[in-house]
Subunit: 458 residues, 2 copies
């Protein structure tokens, strides 16, 4: 089909929506390394994981062979309230950049959580409800995940306890109110409500908190109460599985109009959006059916792929979770308070880490003032005010489109616009006032956090 | 077509989008009363209005006979970035209410301005640009209009000066940053930057501001600078004209699936959303082709339709604008600071006022704690966090759906969900903390503001 006919926004009909998630591990010859029990150093069993996660989610976490997994009817029904998300042809941006590149973005921000996080939140809440649980606990950084989970729990009538990274809790008071409106309780982390929180506060009384700390507190809160389990918004393979709804919709929409992306770009913190967006494309790449250039974009202030090591590490600061082999900065890594927004996790999804290690995708790191410059430029022509996280992908998409302008190449660029920046106005204000700065950790600083890696790597 | 097949969300394709706005005045036998020059008491001329508004917008303001007006290509292009908006079947809400009623809402919140206001902002910015102006000035209350205009001006490279009602400026600092991100300047009103602002501050130094004050300041700022005009986000007939894109999309989507609403509900401040939503349905009603029950919902704290008088009034506190015949509380009316969100204008669109006076629509007023209760109930089942303004319509839609539950009637209810509440979290926090209160002006208070009506009515 000719590009002339491509609308500004492609919406799939309900009939065209994915009815199964895609498990990319099934098509990987070399699988991600197994999760290990931190005590024994042996692969964790379903039973061990079942103390922390819902049974069905444990099954999904450990399933490396089933390529397609049915999406339950109840989840499909919820998806229909806010999905499909639009695949947008950025005609206005292309014109403003005067580039021959064709730019598309999959926009996940048109729901109240403001991001793609809802795709997994509703799945995890559903399985918790189905198992007859009272509620779930979780951590949240920038607040997108916590909001998404609050919405999902409210829908199924589950209790929801959120541990929010302290610096975000203070920078984003309105996020807290959204979560409360959906009935969740929100505690700044580290807190005195858990043993691990007390321990971290004793050692680092002035800490801004980190996702690693908040995870430890949420896990403790789940495992110390009857009828609760812990749920997580990124990093885990189950989360990437749920997020494949993004990539599957994108692929269907692109196939419908005969569009083939040359470059696929996504921001990467724990990897949930990137993993979801690229999954069906990566599947083709793994099977040798197509080739795509895939770029993960991370903050220069938290550069797990570009400056981390590929090793077994703790998923949380309190070291209560299983060990995962991943690109990591060490669980002791604390992102600078100067860093705005999310993408502040010390490690990366095991699936993405393995794909990156196999050379199937690239990674770039970008500094935040350049990211906000790209965000503002994008907002002024495409209308949407992007989240700082999403703007990492925008920055690299703009760079690639401008390269096409130099070379005259008509490349097709696809990027994930994961969410909106309505709750990031302190950061935008800092940028508007010229008060935003950048921070790049020194080699010494990183070496210090690599020293927190578990002994099993030695 | 059977209701069984109606999707959760109906999106029109680009081909189905309206290419003309509908001018409902053309089908009104008795037209709205003409705008009057406050000095002479005579109908204002196009030349007089041309000092304040862009030429093409003056033409639209005064045109009572052309039923359909072409939407320029440049505006259609911009509309395609964020339109069509979805017509949503509220399946989850119906289930939660256990009502036989069929509930639909037209959701205008999926753009960065967070509301329908962008539909008119882009039109007004386009005509200003076409006329070769440097920039525009405006007022904003809750901030939705100012944000929308900032986005539109940034798109066309126009300067944008926003006077923001002081209480909103203070309650919504993040709105200001969104406007600044789009390049606008934002001044709290009343301010010392205009003569009228100085005068109001001298008389009422502790005022919270009002839309009426802010309009006066914006008009003065426009008329005292070369190359500037004033633009307004509601009340005017030109604004209602642009907003008919809402109703036209809704009607097309409903016709496509054979849906006929029994009741149409919209919140009403100045009337821009309600006027736009109901236009094509009202057109059928005026021509005797169909009948619909139409309900305007306003805050009990600012009840222009339900407790106002139908009279000529000043559109602004400074009394510099033409006189308009409308349902009004008097231009001296100042809404209580207790009132959260928008819908705080003292008068109502001349078109809607006349239709209401002819008995073609009803009006209800509702108190804000009940509005937030409805908002929370809606959010928890439909996902979307609604703006306080929109939640006025939700409240009455819930009431009507619950009446159907009692009577067993399967009525079809349509309401306008004008926007999202992401920038209203102080108000939600007050509601969450049980600290929200209601305010109903006394008869004495209203009588006092009626005394500010111009002598021409006597």
């Amino acid at each position: 089909m000719s590009n002339e006919k491509i609308p500004y926004k492609i919406y799939l009909s309900e009939d065209e929506l994915p009815k199964q998630w895609y498990n990319v591990r099934a098509d990987m010859k070399k699988k991600p390394a197994p999760l290990l029990n931190p005590g024994t150093g042996m692969p964790v069993t379903a039973e061990e994981l079942g103390h922390v996660f819902c049974d069905e989610l444990v099954k999904q976490e450990l399933d490396e062979t089933t390529p397609y997994i049915d999406i339950p009817e109840e989840i499909l029904g919820f998806y229909k309230m806010y999905r499909p998300s639009p695949l947008v042809r950025a005609y206005c941006l292309e014109k403003a950049l005067d580039t021959p590149a064709k730019i598309y973005y999959k926009f996940e921000g048109n729901n109240t959580s403001g991001s793609h996080k809802l795709n997994s939140a509703i799945a995890q809440a559903y399985y918790a409800k189905k198992q007859g649980l009272k509620g779930v606990t979780t951590e949240t950084g920038a607040g997108q995940w916590g909001t998404a989970l609050s919405m999902a729990c409210s829908y199924f009538g589950l209790d929801c306890k959120v541990y929010m990274v302290k610096v975000s809790y203070e920078q984003k008071p309105f996020r807290r109110e959204v979560m409360r409106t959906y009935g969740a309780s929100v505690t700044p982390s580290p807190s005195m409500t858990t043993e691990v929180g007390k321990k971290i506060l004793a050692e680092f009384p002035d800490t801004n908190g980190s996702l690693g700390c908040a995870i430890s507190e949420a896990v403790e809160a789940a495992t110390s109460q009857e009828g609760y389990r812990y749920v997580l918004g990124s990093v885990l393979s189950q989360v990437l599985l749920h997020q494949t709804v993004i990539g599957l919709e994108t692929k269907t929409a692109m196939d419908k109009y005969g569009i083939k992306p040359d470059i696929i770009i996504g921001c990467a913190g724990g990897g949930s959006n990137l993993g979801g967006l690229i999954a069906p494309f990566m599947g083709e790449k793994l099977k040798g059916e197509a080739d795509y250039r895939i770029i993960a974009v991370e903050p220069a202030s938290c550069p797990s792929l570009t400056r981390g090591v590929y090793a077994y590490d703790f998923c949380d600061t309190g070291k209560v979770c299983p060990l995962q082999k991943m690109y990591t900065l060490g669980s002791g890594f604390m992102p600078s308070a100067n860093h705005a927004g999310g993408l502040r996790y010390h490690g990366m999804s095991a699936i993405l880490s393995e794909l990156y290690d196999q050379g199937l995708m690239e990674a770039k790191s970008v500094e935040q003032t350049a990211v906000f410059e790209a965000a503002q430029r994008f907002a002024r022509v495409e209308g949407i005010l992007p989240a700082p996280e999403s703007s990492h992908a925008i920055k690299v998409a703009l760079d690639e489109a401008l390269k096409c302008k130099e070379t005259g190449e008509e490349k097709t660029i696809l990027f994930g616009l994961t969410g909106t920046g309505y709750f990031d106005m302190y950061a935008y204000a800092a940028y508007n006032d010229g008060k935003m700065s950048d921070y790049i950790p020194s080699d010494e600083e990183l070496q210090k956090s690599f020293d927190t890696l578990p002994k099993i790597n030695k």
